[in-house]
Amino acid sequence: MANRLDRWADPPLLVLASLADEPKHGYAIIRDVSETMGVRLTAGTLYAVIARLEAVGLIEPLASADRRRPYQITAAGRAALAEQSARMGQVASLAQARLGDGYGWAGA
């Protein structure tokens, strides 16, 4: 679809949302985000986000036997995700309400 806005999706939020239910390694995050949220994260973007989220303590690495190290969301990460989700929910409700009321060029 030509007008999809997912290219402007917030990758840190997508990664936090992906890790909210269970720990995942990099490839599992990419697959989950792609299948459930419809956004394709590249390796460069994913690991830039992982490094930033780890640096600020929103996710943490788990021990791993192989090279595919899994990450889990921290308590601070859950709080940040909940706060951001609530804000996005408000925006979504507002957008749907206004679209439903005929807001925009058609209703002006």
Partner: protein
């Protein structure tokens, strides 16, 4: 979507990974390779990896930022660049101020001389104040750990300049002929001087890397390196303006020196000053950064 047989990352993807800082590669390199083996490494992935390497250098994640290592690297880089710039400054003094070149009616050149002198003196004092305590700490460390090679590298900072000055003094005493001590002698001693400055500064820089000292002396040296780099860059700027002014307004200087030389001088000063300033900036930033959790 999933692959049953993992494929090695392509050469371009491996090359893109090499663009990342060593600390980043050490922490995430294996994970990214494992991911590429599963997800593939097409052009979009390679491009994404290459583009994301830039912020990894410019603004490294805090938990990967090795402050002391960064400070040591900056001190070493600034020391070598600063020594060369100071040598270039000495050549500038010899070719302009000591030859009595002035630009009557153009006070800019005279002001530039003053700024150059003051900035260079401040830079030398700052470098000494920040560098000597660290040098002494490394001498102690090398003695305690019986590191003879590192001790030898450290002493180059004293022995090489002393040897150079002794050689120059002997040569001038033996030759003692104003006609003979012309431009070839000057060029020879200038080149030898740059070699001596390079060796004298590279010695402690090598020892700094190998001994990896820590503590307040490194932070003080990194902060001093920032100030020394800024002041020597100011001296370089003043000397470049003075050289351009002399080329424009002083016939005897312009006739004695090719204008091309002033441009070469300007380019050398700008390139080395930029290297010193960028490295010093990163070192100062590391000095005052909040330590990682």
């Amino acid at each position: 979507m999933s692959r049953t047989v993992p494929a090695e990352p392509g050469p371009l993807a491996s090359l893109a990974l090499m663009l990342y800082p060593p600390a980043w590669r050490e922490r995430y390199g294996d994970e990214v390779r494992a991911l590429l083996e599963e997800a593939g490494s097409g052009p979009a992935t390679v491009a994404s990896l290459a583009v994301r390497a830039v912020p990894a250098w410019v603004n490294p994640p805090r938990h990967l930022h090795d402050r002391e290592s960064r400070m040591r690297a900056s001190v070493g880089t600034v020391l070598v660049a600063w020594s060369v710039l100071t040598g270039v400054g000495a050549v500038f003094v010899q070719l302009t101020q000591l030859q009595g070149f002035r630009a009557p009616g153009h006070p800019l050149v005279q002001w530039c001389y003053l700024v150059f002198d003051a900035a260079l003196a401040a830079s030398v004092l700052t470098a000494a104040a920040g560098g000597v305590p660290l040098w002494l700490q490394m001498i102690r460390l090398a003695r305690q750990q019986r590191r003879r090679r590192e001790l030898a590298w450290l002493w180059t900072a004293v022995l090489v300049p002393a040897g150079y000055l002794a050689l120059a003094l002997i040569a001038l005493t033996v030759v003692h002929d104003p006609e003979a001590s012309g431009s070839w002698w000057f060029a020879g001693f200038a080149i030898l001087g740059f070699g001596a400055a390079g060796l004298a500064s590279a010695g402690p820089a090598v020892a700094l890397k190998r001994l990896a000292p820590g503590g307040p002396a490194v932070a003080v040296a990194a902060a001093a390196a920032g100030l020394a780099a800024a002041t020597v860059a100011l001296a370089g700027l003043a000397s470049a303006i003075a050289a351009a002014g002399l080329c424009l307004w002083t016939t005897s200087f312009a006739g004695y020196h090719h204008a091309d030389l002033a441009w070469v001088y300007l380019l050398i000063v700008a390139a080395i000053a930029a290297t010193a300033t960028i490295s010093a900036g990163r070192g100062v930033r590391a000095t005052f950064a909040i330590p990682a959790r």
